[in-house]
């Protein structure tokens, strides 16, 4: 069993290395739209993977991740715009604050189960949205607009080419996927899945389910905030509606569910399908008044939920199983022939 795990890990490393080579292809690197789509795929995959920790593995559907994403974005944004620093200390403050906020709001919410937990997290997004709209210190409704600073890794900002952003997004992706892969094989990952499957049962085996869920939520929020910090550096602007909205929360949830919640590959598969779809429809039919991408989003989700609730990973697994069965019968035939 260990060996197959190692093999899939190698596959992941090879895949990441392959992605790292993409900007070396001049035709791709010169096409800023393609680069933009690639960066967004990596960012959305990272966001979805962060959500996947508590939402997928932990089974606690949170619609509140826009708040943590927003806190990370504002952390970096305020460091640069308000205090004239590099974004790094701001991102760090954002990450820590997001984790603290996550624990504070989750503790009472975890007393609720199932749909009620989801609904409570919905409300929290609205609360933070309104709060940031009227809060002058964070820029209020106007938000924060970046000024021109020197480009490079220190300021995490590039103007001419998107290659810098691309590699940052790749590091983000590798970091978050690496963390989740690590957790999957360790006690915390087992406990998290056990809590999802049955809280009472998990507790009967010595699992402190509240502590496990809170830790998962804190980690998930911290990583969402890290994604938010990257987003604001890429977007060069942030306002409450842009980050702390149900739209943003939905993206965390939908990308993961489309790809397959509670699986390592799910968030990447979901992002790889949804982001290009979103960006191409926006580019093609953006003139129709906007929202066409969301309509297609909606249809896709309905289709997935009805046809295969396990998402794209579920579809892949079904195909593999069918193949396996065919392969198995083929082998059976061969042995019969030999006899």
């Amino acid at each position: 069993m260990n060996r197959t795990l190692k093999r899939t890990d190698l596959l992941w490393l090879a895949f990441t290395a392959l992605i790292a080579l993409v900007p070396l292809v001049p035709a791709v690197a010169m096409n800023s739209f393609v680069m933009h789509v690639l960066i967004l795929v990596l960012l959305y995959a990272s966001m979805a993977q962060a959500w996947n920790i508590i939402g997928g593995y932990g089974g606690q559907t949170s619609f509140g991740h826009a708040v943590f994403f927003g806190i990370g974005a504002y952390g970096a944004g305020m460091a640069v715009v308000t205090y004239g620093m590099t974004p790094w200390p701001g991102a760090l403050v954002g990450i820590v604050s997001a984790a603290v906020v996550a624990v504070l709001i989750s503790y009472p919410c975890f007393k609720l189960s199932g749909h009620y937990f989801a609904i409570a997290t919905f409300a929290i997004v609205e609360i933070f949205n309104r709060m940031f709209l009227v809060w002058d210190w964070v820029g209020g409704a106007l938000g924060l607009d970046y000024m021109i600073v020197e480009e490079g890794l220190a300021n995490l900002m590039w103007y001419d080419s998107k290659t810098g952003y691309f590699y940052c997004a790749l590091v983000l992706f590798a970091l978050i996927f690496g963390i989740v892969r690590f957790l999957e094989g360790h006690r915390f990952g087992y406990y998290l899945r056990a809590v999802r499957a049955g809280q009472e049962t998990a507790e009967s085996l010595g699992v402190n389910s509240t502590a496990v869920k809170l830790a998962a939520m804190a980690l998930s929020a911290a990583l969402a905030a890290l994604c938010g910090a990257f987003f604001v550096q890429y977007n060069l602007r942030v306002d409450p509606g842009m980050v702390m909205s149900l739209d943003t929360s939905m993206k965390f949830v939908l990308v993961t569910i489309l790809g397959g919640a509670g699986t390592l590959a799910g968030p990447l598969l979901g992002a790889a399908v949804l982001v290009p779809l979103q960006e191409f429809t926006r580019a093609k039919w953006g003139g129709l008044g906007g929202g066409v991408d969301l309509i297609i989003f909606g249809f896709l989700i309905i289709l997935i939920v009805v046809k295969q609730p396990a998402g794209i990973t579920g579809i892949v697994r079904d195909i593999a199983r069918r193949r396996g069965r065919r392969g198995g019968s083929g082998k059976g035939g061969a042995s019969l022939g030999a006899a």
Binding site: G185, R187, Y191, R193, A194, A197, S204, L205, G206
Partner: protein
């Protein structure tokens, strides 16, 4: 010294008294059976001991420490682990991963947990199911999974809630054999059982509950002939007939 001591435990649900001042002890190394007809309060008592329900009054002492009111995960960590009557496989996890969750109670080390899980799976005869999803297994296998998972925690007291209910007679024999194996590993057992025939051959001592009250307590041979127990299980009429037959025999 007693490993588990239940002292005057009462559990009320509103007006209903499910357990009424029940007291008994479980000695280290023993197999104690907790029997009684349906609705006797066996599972309720179990839920109180394992911390799933708070008791209304009374005390539960495990290994010299009072555990009344502790959350169930703390009680499990102290070494008193239970199974559930209605099997609760952790769905979307393989049989092996289910057992791993139990095995991690001994520490965070994955290699050590894996060894404990493998051992537990082997003695429960689950090796061929290890890679299967725990949701789609036949009931007999699910019951063994309950057992394997609890066993993997390396408990000092293992509390089994009707692990033999719904099994075929062959499966019951396998289960009895398994319980003997577990005891040999030095684990104390408290077994709730509805079927008297299943528990009598293995128990050192039996506690009988009826209507929430402790009816009798003693070695299986005594319990089996206890008039009150027979009445509770088989009804007044049957008990009277038994009694009459016994007297008839004595006369003849």
């Amino acid at each position: 010294m007693a490993l588990l001591e239940v002292r005057d435990v009462t559990k009320k649900f509103g007006e209903l008294v499910a357990c009424d001042r029940v007291s008994f002890t479980v000695e280290a190394g023993a197999i104690v059976g907790l029997i009684g007809p349906n609705g006797a309060g066996k599972t309720t008592l179990f839920n109180c001991i394992s911390g799933l329900f708070p008791v209304s009054s009374g005390a539960i002492v495990f290994d010299g420490r009072e555990i009344t009111g502790l959350p169930s995960y703390r009680i499990a960590r102290m070494g008193a682990v239970r199974t559930f009557q209605v099997v609760r496989p952790l769905k979307d996890m393989t049989v092996f991963d289910n057992v791993m969750v139990g095995a991690f109670l001994q520490g965070a080390g994955t290699a050590k947990a894996r060894a404990a899980a493998e051992h537990s799976i082997r003695i429960c005869g689950l090796a061929e199911f290890a890679g299967k999803d725990s949701g789609d297994l036949p009931i007999g296998v699910k019951k063994r999974l309950e057992l394997a998972r609890a066993l993997a925690t390396r408990p000092r007291l293992l509390m089994l809630d009707e692990v033999m209910a719904g099994l075929t007679s062959t499966e019951v024999n396998t289960a009895l054999e398994l319980i003997r194996t577990i005891r040999k590993e030095g684990i104390t057992l408290l077994i709730v059982e509805h079927i008297m025939e299943a528990i009598m051959p293995i128990a050192d001592r039996v506690v009988v509950l009826d209507g929430g009250v402790k009816l009798a307590e003693g070695p299986p041979a005594e319990i089996i002939n206890d008039e009150r127990v027979i009445t509770a299980y088989l009804g007044e009429k049957f008990s009277r007939r038994m009694q009459a037959r016994k007297e008839g025999k004595a006369d003849g």
